[in-house]
Amino acid sequence: MSHFSSKDSSLDNLLRRDPRTEWIARNRLHPLHSSVVSAGQGEVRGSSGLLRKNPHVIGFIGPNGIKRIDRANLSSAGLNSKKRTGEAKETQRPLHIVENPDAYIMVVADMIGGRLTSHDKDILGLAHQLVAEGNQNTAVVLVCFGESKETQFDLAGVDRLIHLSADEFEGFAPEVRVAALIQIETQYRPEHWLFPDSVHGGSDLASRLAAKLGERPAAQAWQVTASTTTSRGASGSQDIRRETPRILMLMEECANAIEDTRHQVLPLDLSEEFIVPSGSCLLDKGQIEVDSNAVPLAEAEFILSAGNGIHNWDQFHSAAAALGATEGASRVAVDDGFMPRSRQVGASGTWVTARVYLAVGISGAIQHMQGIGQCDKVVAINTDAGCDMVKRADLAVIADSEAILEELTKLAQQYSLSKSQEEKSDAA
């Protein structure tokens, strides 16, 4: 019975109906009818003694916020004592506490764009599965390099966090990163090292660490328990079952992400100052410019997409070139012949995975919204504030596309100019 106690916060804002009062209110012959109907209102007489009816208390506010007057008395929801108190409150998940952990499981995240990917979250979930099978007093430690924009480490299942954000870890720096991992290894001796088996550097880092430590890792692992690991071999045609090694490279969807608990996210420090190893044989010259329109639309990182709201197509193309964005289009723009069919985004075109999707003059038909379902950040430029794309967007600008694109092109040109000048002064 305790489950139904009134203290249960999730039941607090539920609509409680009183069928008996509702029934009395419907039944005008009931002896209590008049008292029930006038319960919340009371009889008010004006100065001349006339009975005054307050029109504002008649009826009730319907679920979509519109006032309904129920003259047929079909439902007497207005008589209910409790009203719904707006949106359901965000329930706080219970906090998972690890005090003075005996052991550690290290998860090295990809953190594409500074945020945990779903792959990273699955691996954190797997780490907690391993904890649940073995020693309960084990902390799951997230090791992440570079800048972090993630705000929900606690909900992803991070007990401890090692955040290495110094400049030397930025860009392509596998040797420095591995040196840091080896320092963590000597200090904490973790039970397991879990890496995403991804092209974003996870498998590279894992292989380097395994080679340095002389451990045999399991690559492309997809079923992991504390004792056995199943991994794919022979280009995905074989399942290899073996004892769970210390270093694991895990495939996507290897476990379910954490959904029920909150975690502490306490910072964990390296005991000694990290010293950058000298004599590196690799020198990063930075990412080089690639023709953004040669990148397949499905895997483009940044898409500038045009819809019916574009009138100046030359300006759109020059804006895409200035920003270095891959061009996309909605169905209308393609049907009207302004863009080739291969550029169409949406259900009958390409399903894109861009990190940033800049939709210009696209109102957002459902077929188009399906196509951009996997995009992280959506920016909308539109004249209609009520369209679906604006509702979906993380940043929506209500304006004519032409003016904004012109300003954006200008900004991009200024930025690249100032950058090239900086480089020149650096070289000089």
């Binding site: 999730s10 764009g113 392509f172 040797e175 092209v199 974003h200 590279d204 292989s207 395994a210 340095k212 890792p217 399991a218 690559a219 492309q220 997809w222 794919r232 071999g233 022979a234 280009s235 045609s237 399942d239 290899i240 079952r241 073996r242 490279m249 969807e253 044989c281 690799l282 990063d284 010259k285 930075g286 990412q287 080089i288 690639v290 990148v295 397949p296 895997e299 483009a300 990182e301 940044f302 270095g324 990190r355 940033v356 800049l358 919204m369 992280d376 950040k377 920016v379 604006v390 979906r392 967007a393 993380d394 940043l395 929506a396 600008v397 209500i398 904004i404 300003e407 954006l408 900004l411």
Partner: protein, 258 residues
């Protein structure tokens, strides 16, 4: 083509993804192609395994005058043989695929070679731009079609990505006529791998969409609600310049404008 560069490409037996037949491995073929473009006829192509394997003729058919085979059984570890082959030679570049198409295909071989030889490793190379004065400028293939330029000191090991130039066609006749140098080096049986249970891959279970709603109202909401991004910022009354600046700031923050 660059003069006086000793390039070694390591090749393995591939597996066709549909038929499962042995074939020239996709990435190893690209490693040979890259090696041929760098060193021409002086390229050394090495395979550790069975010298009678007919697939090796497909590699040889790419225009190799000869091919070196370090003879060993299928349960042997290729690493010690390759290390002892590469160690005392004057080699500048070793090219491999990222992942073999047979065996464990863990992709560890280039890393272990690099560790044992003490050479640097560049992963997922798309192109080697030039080699001069003991340094090479290489292009790494990043996800989403991006490229990164890296300068690496010789000698180095590179694993060749699928973004590298496609392997040329093989010719049957020259492949048959190619000369095979079979070397017998130390054989080390891979003990750990003999303990594994190896089965045909089971299809992975699809992840189910679990609705965790407790009440009927929540379930209704989960079933009917449109996916809505969590209440983004809407700019309405600002000037065009301010709006454009806000968008550009977001693009800079996400590092898509470089």
């Amino acid at each position: 083509m660059l003069p006086n560069i000793n390039v070694v490409s390591l090749v393995s037996v591939g597996r066709h993804p549909q038929s499962g037949r042995a074939r020239r491995a996709e990435q190893d073929g690209r490693a040979v192609e890259l090696g041929l473009n760098l060193a021409g006829n002086t390229l050394t192509v090495v395979h550790a395994g069975n010298a009678q394997e007919p697939v090796l003729r497909q590699y040889a058919g790419m225009g190799l005058p000869s091919l070196t085979v370090l003879a060993q059984e299928s349960d042997c570890d290729a690493l010690p043989a390759l290390v002892s082959f590469l160690k005392d030679k004057h080699i500048d570049v070793v090219l491999t695929g990222v992942r073999a198409e047979s065996g464990e295909s863990s992709g560890m071989l280039p890393y272990l070679l690099a560790e044992q030889l003490g050479w640097p490793l560049v992963p997922r190379v798309a192109e080697i731009l030039n080699i001069k004065e003991g340094e090479a400028e290489v292009l790494l293939a990043l996800p989403r079609g991006q490229r990164r330029a890296v300068i690496v000191k010789l000698p180095f090991i590179a694993s060749v990505d699928n973004a590298a130039q496609e392997a040329r066609q093989t010719a049957f006749g020259p492949g048959l006529r190619a000369d095979f140098k079979v070397l017998t080096l130390e054989r080390v049986v891979d003990e750990a791998a003999s303990q594994w249970q190896i089965n045909i891959a089971k299809p992975r279970p699809k992840r189910l969409k679990v609705v965790k709603a407790k009440t009927a109202a929540d379930r209704m909401k989960a079933a009917t609600a449109k996916p809505v991004g969590g209440g983004g910022k809407i700019m309405k009354d600002e000037t065009a310049a301010e709006k454009a600046q806000a968008i550009f700031d977001l693009l800079l923050e996400e590092k898509v404008v470089r």
